[in-house]
Symmetry: C2
Subunit: 506 residues, 2 copies
C-alpha cells in the first residue's frame, strides 16, 4: 500500500533529497549498509562497532540492539550481525548477558573516555563576602555529614506510597489528548485544588482562572522580574536582612533590590516609603531569615503604601508551618489588586517536585500567562494532576499535620541543643517555619569564618551575613526540619565547639 | 520540654510579635478561638463557617476537617465543633458523608460564586495574517472533532504501565536527600542516559556533563535567546518557511528572526551568508514545515559558514522518526563547537512531560547553566529519573519502534486519502516525521480561509502561510501521527470538500 502511494506522489516526495532507501539503514549509530562492500558486510559492521566503542559513542555498559532487531533494520541476514558481535566478543569488547542482551564490557585503552570535570565547579564553597551566582550549588555539592542549611522540610516524610497510588490513578483515567501540549496556566484540576487550598489555609479567595501554576518561587521571581520590568519597574525593594537567593534571582533578571530594614515588627514601612520604590518583596508570615511576623500596625501602614500605588510581592514560602503562634492570613487576602502572591510545594512536600503557584494582580494577569508560555509552555501535566489529587483527597493536609509534629520536635531539639552548646547566642524566629536564626556578638566576617569552619568539620549552615545587604548582626541561619533530633544535637555541638569561647555573647 | 526552652529563650523568641498562643488557632480558615466570646464558641464557629461558604473560601464540594482534628487545633472540646457543623447541616449547607467526612453541599444564593471567564480567551481562532502570541493556545482550546495540527506523536501509545513501573522503582530506592534542591543541569542519571541516546541515535558524542536538561525546546529557545543576546547576538536567522512557534518564542525574548529561504536542498546558505546573521536556527533532519532534508552540499557549505564564526542552533525536533530514507546524523556530531543542539521527548513520548535537552558549545556552557538555574533551579527530579530508566532499559527504544510502525501506517493513510480527496495538491516531506505539507495553487489568504472553514467543520489544521515570513505557496501543514487512519480519512475528506473545486491544482 505504501509503495503504490509512494509512486503516486513520486514527484512531490522527491523534494526529500535523501530519497527512499532500498533498505539497510539503522538509527542505531546511523549505520547505512549502502556503505558496506558487497562481500564484507559482517567485517564492515564489526569495524563500525569498534569505532563507536573507541570514540565513546558506545560507552562501557551500554547495550547493543538484539541481533534480530538490528538485522531487520539493516535488512541483512541475522548471521551478519551475529558474526560482527562475535568478533567483538573475541576482542573482549562485547559480552553476551543472556536475556540481558549484548553489552559493551571494555573499550580499547586508546579511547578518550575520561570524564571531564564540570568547569568552574570547584570543590570549595566561597564563604567570603559577595557570594557568587552558584554559591548554593557549591554548598549543596560540598560533602558534609550534617546539613543544617535552611529551606527544606523533612524529606524523609515525602508520601512516596500516596504519590505512586495517585499517579497510577491519574494514568488510569487520563485521556490520551492530555499528553499533548496544554494550557500554559496549568491544568484546571490543579488550579482548582490550589484555589481551594489557599482559601482554606491562607484566607485567599481566588478563582481557579486567577491561579498560574509555575515551577516554584524561583520561576515566579523570574516571571515577576520580566513582567514588572516591561512595565518600567526596574527595582523591587527587599527586606534587609532578606534571602540572598531571592536577591540573586532578581539581580539575574536585571532588577535591582534596594534594601529596607527589618525590625521586631517586620519591614519598616516608613523606610520603604522613603526609598521611593514602586514595588517591594516581603515574607510577611515568617520573615526570612529573622522569623519576625509582620505586626498589625505595619500591615496597616503597608496597606496605606499600597493604596498609594505600591506593588507587593508576597513570598509566602513557609506560611503553613507554625508552632506557637496564631496563623497569619496572607496579605493577598486583603489586597488582591496590589499583591502578587507566590507559594509552592517546596516546603509542603519537596523542592524536587518543582511546583508552585502565582496569583498576579488582575492588571498583570495576561502578561504573566504570556511570560509563562514563553518560559516553558506550562508545567508538566502528570505531577500537576497527582498533586491535585493529593490536595483534594486531604492527603496533603494529613501530611502537613504529620510534618508539623515532626518539625516541632526537631525545632525543640535544636533550641535545647543551642541552650546547651551555644548558651550565649540569641535565638530568633522559632515560633514557625523550618529554620531559626541565632545571633552572637562578634565583628564582621566572624559568621562566614564560623560557617567555613563548621563545613570543614562536616556541618553545613548559612552565615547570617549572606542574607544581609547592610552591616547586620553576626549569626547563623539553621534549618532543623530535615534533620533528626540526634543529628541536630550533633551538628549544634560542632557549632558550639567551633564557636568556642572566642566569640562573646550577643 | 519545649516550654522550658521557651522560657530560656523568652527574650529572643519575643521578636515574634504574635507570640506563643495559649492555643485555639487553626490554619483552616485562620480561625482563632481567641476571638470567640467565652459563652458562644459553637455559635461563633458556625458563623465563621457560614461566612467562608458565603464568600467562596469554602466552595460547594469542599471537605471540612474531621471534628476531632479541628477541635484539637482550636483546643476546644469536640462538642463545640460538632455543634457548629450540626447547625450548618440544619441550614442545608453541610452534609455528613459517612467516611467521606463533612462536605459543603450548598451555598446561600447571595454567594458570588460565579466563574469569571478567562479574560482575552476568546472562543475564536484568529486565522488571519499576523497570528498573535496565544494563537496556538486558542487553536488548542477550540473544539474540533479531528485534530490534524502538526507536532504531536501518537499519544495513545504513551507507555503508561512502563512509566508507572519505572516510577515505583525510582521511588523505592531514591535517597530522601534527592527530594531537595538539585543540580540545575539535571540529574546525572538522565544526563548520562541522554548522552548515550544521542550517541546511539544521533551520532553525537557528548559527556554527561555537557548535557543540560531543560523542560523542552520552548525553554531551550528562551535560554538560547538570553545567553546569545547577552553576547551581543540580537538576531537568529531562521528558515523560511519555518516554524511560527519558534519565531514567536525568539521574538518574545527580544531576538529578531530574519528569514532565509529554503529550497529542495534545505536552507540556502549563500542567502544566509548574505544576510550577515551571526547565528541561524535550523531543522536539518526534517525541515519544518517542508520536510526537506538538508542536502550534502548544503551541509558542507554550512560548515564553511560556521568555520567563519557562524553559530548554529540545531532544532532536532523529530529526527528519530523516519520511514523511507537513510538516517541523518546531527550537525552537532560534526561541529560541536559551533552547534547548540536542542532535542526533547515531546515527539518520542509526549509533550506533556516537558523534558528536553540542550548541548551548548563549550564557550557558552556555564552561561547556559546560569540561565537554567535562574529560570527554574532545574527540572523536577522524579520524571527525570523515570525517563532515565526508560531510556537505559531499552523501553524507550522499543516504544520508538512501535511508534514508527504506527506512524508509518498513519502517514500512508493520509497520503492515500490526499490522493483520493485532494488529487490536485502536492505532498511534501512525507519520508519522515509526524506531519506532511500539501500545497496548492491559490492566491494569498486562501489557506487561512481554508483552515478556518475546516475548523468550522470540526477539523484542525495549520495554514502553511502561518509558517512563512515572505510570500510562499498556499497550503496546509497536516499532522497524522496522533490520529487513527479512520480519523485521517474523515478529516482529509472534509478538507477535500472545503477546498472543493475552487482552488486550481498547484
Amino acid at each position: 500500500m505504501h509503495r503504490s502511494n509512494g509512486e503516486c506522489f513520486e514527484r512531490s516526495i522527491s523534494v526529500d533529497p535523501a530519497g527512499a532507501t532500498a533498505g539497510g539503514a539503522s538509527d542505531f549509530l546511523q549505520l547505512d549498509m549502502g556503505e558496506a562492500p558487497a562481500g564484507g558486510r559482517a567485517d564492515w559492521l564489526a569495524g563500525q562497532l569498534r569505532r563507536a566503542i573507541a570514540d565513546g559513542r558506545l560507552p562501557v555498559g551500554s547495550k547493543l540492539p538484539a541481533t534480530r532487531v538490528l538485522a531487520a533494520e539493516l535488512r541483512v541476514s541475522r548471521g551478519v550481525v551475529t558474526e560482527a558481535y562475535r568478533r567483538l566478543g573475541e576482542d573482549g569488547q562485547l559480552a553476551g548477558r543472556g536475556r540481558g542482551g549484548t553489552v559493551v564490557v571494555a573499550a580499547p585503552v586508546t579511547a578518550g573516555g575520561e570524564q571531564t570535570p564540570h568547569p568552574g565547579r570547584a570543590p570549595g564553597v566561597p564563604f567570603g563576602a559577595g557570594p557568587g551566582a552558584d554559591v548554593f550549588d557549591a554548598l549543596r555539592a560540598a560533602p558534609a555529614r550534617i546539613d543544617l542549611s535552611p529551606g527544606v522540610p523533612d524529606l524523609a516524610a515525602f508520601p512516596r506510597a500516596a504519590w505512586t497510588r495517585a499517579e497510577r490513578a491519574v494514568l488510569a483515567e487520563l485521556p490520551a489528548a492530555e499528553f499533548g501540549y496544554g494550557d500554559p496556566r496549568g491544568t484546571l484540576a490543579l488550579r482548582r485544588a490550589v484555589a481551594n487550598w489557599l482559601a482554606r489555609y491562607r484566607g485567599i479567595r481566588a478563582d481557579p482562572d486567577e491561579v498560574l501554576i509555575v515551577t516554584g518561587t524561583a520561576q515566579a521571581l523570574g516571571l515577576i522580574a520580566q513582567v514588572y520590568s516591561r512595565d518600567g519597574i526596574r527595582a523591587v525593594a527587599v527586606e534587609d536582612p532578606g534571602s540572598l537567593g531571592v536577591r540573586q534571582h532578581l539581580a539575574h533578571w536585571g532588577v535591582a533590590t534596594p534594601p529596607v530594614p527589618v525590625d521586631e515588627e517586620g519591614i519598616r514601612v516608613e523606610a520603604l516609603r522613603a526609598s521611593g520604590a514602586r514595588a517591594v518583596l516581603l515574607t510577611p508570615a515568617h520573615q526570612f531569615p529573622t522569623g519576625v511576623v509582620l505586626g498589625g500596625g505595619r500591615r496597616r501602614e503597608l496597606m496605606g503604601w499600597a493604596a498609594d500605588g505600591g506593588l507587593i510581592v508576597e513570598d509566602d514560602y513557609d506560611a503553613e508551618h507554625r508552632y506557637d503562634r496564631a496563623p497569619v492570613p496572607a496579605l493577598r487576602s486583603l489586597l488582591p489588586e496590589q499583591v502578587c502572591y507566590a507559594g509552592s510545594v517546596s516546603k509542603l512536600l519537596a523542592p524536587a517536585l518543582r511546583v508552585g503557584w502565582l496569583l498576579a494582580p488582575a492588571a498583570y494577569r495576561e502578561a504573566f500567562v504570556d511570560a509563562k508560555r514563553f518560559a516553558d509552555l506550562g508545567n508538566a501535566v502528570l505531577p500537576q494532576l497527582v498533586l491535585a489529587r493529593l490536595m483534594e483527597s486531604g492527603e496533603l493536609e494529613r501530611g502537613l499535620r504529620l510534618l508539623r509534629r515532626r518539625h516541632r520536635r526537631r525545632r525543640d531539639a535544636m533550641i535545647a541543643a543551642l541552650a546547651d552548646r551555644l548558651p550565649g547566642a540569641k535565638v530568633h524566629g522559632a515560633a514557625a517555619g523550618l529554620h531559626l536564626t541565632v545571633t552572637f556578638g562578634a565583628g564582621p566576617g566572624a559568621d562566614t569564618e564560623l560557617a567555613a569552619a563548621a563545613l570543614a568539620r562536616g556541618v553545613k549552615v548559612h552565615p547570617l551575613s549572606w542574607h544581609a545587604q547592610r552591616p547586620y548582626r553576626q549569626g547563623l541561619v539553621l534549618g532543623y526540619a530535615a534533620r533528626s533530633p540526634g543529628e541536630i544535637a550533633e551538628g549544634v555541638a560542632v557549632l558550639g565547639e567551633v564557636l568556642g569561647s572566642a566569640v562573646p555573647p550577643g
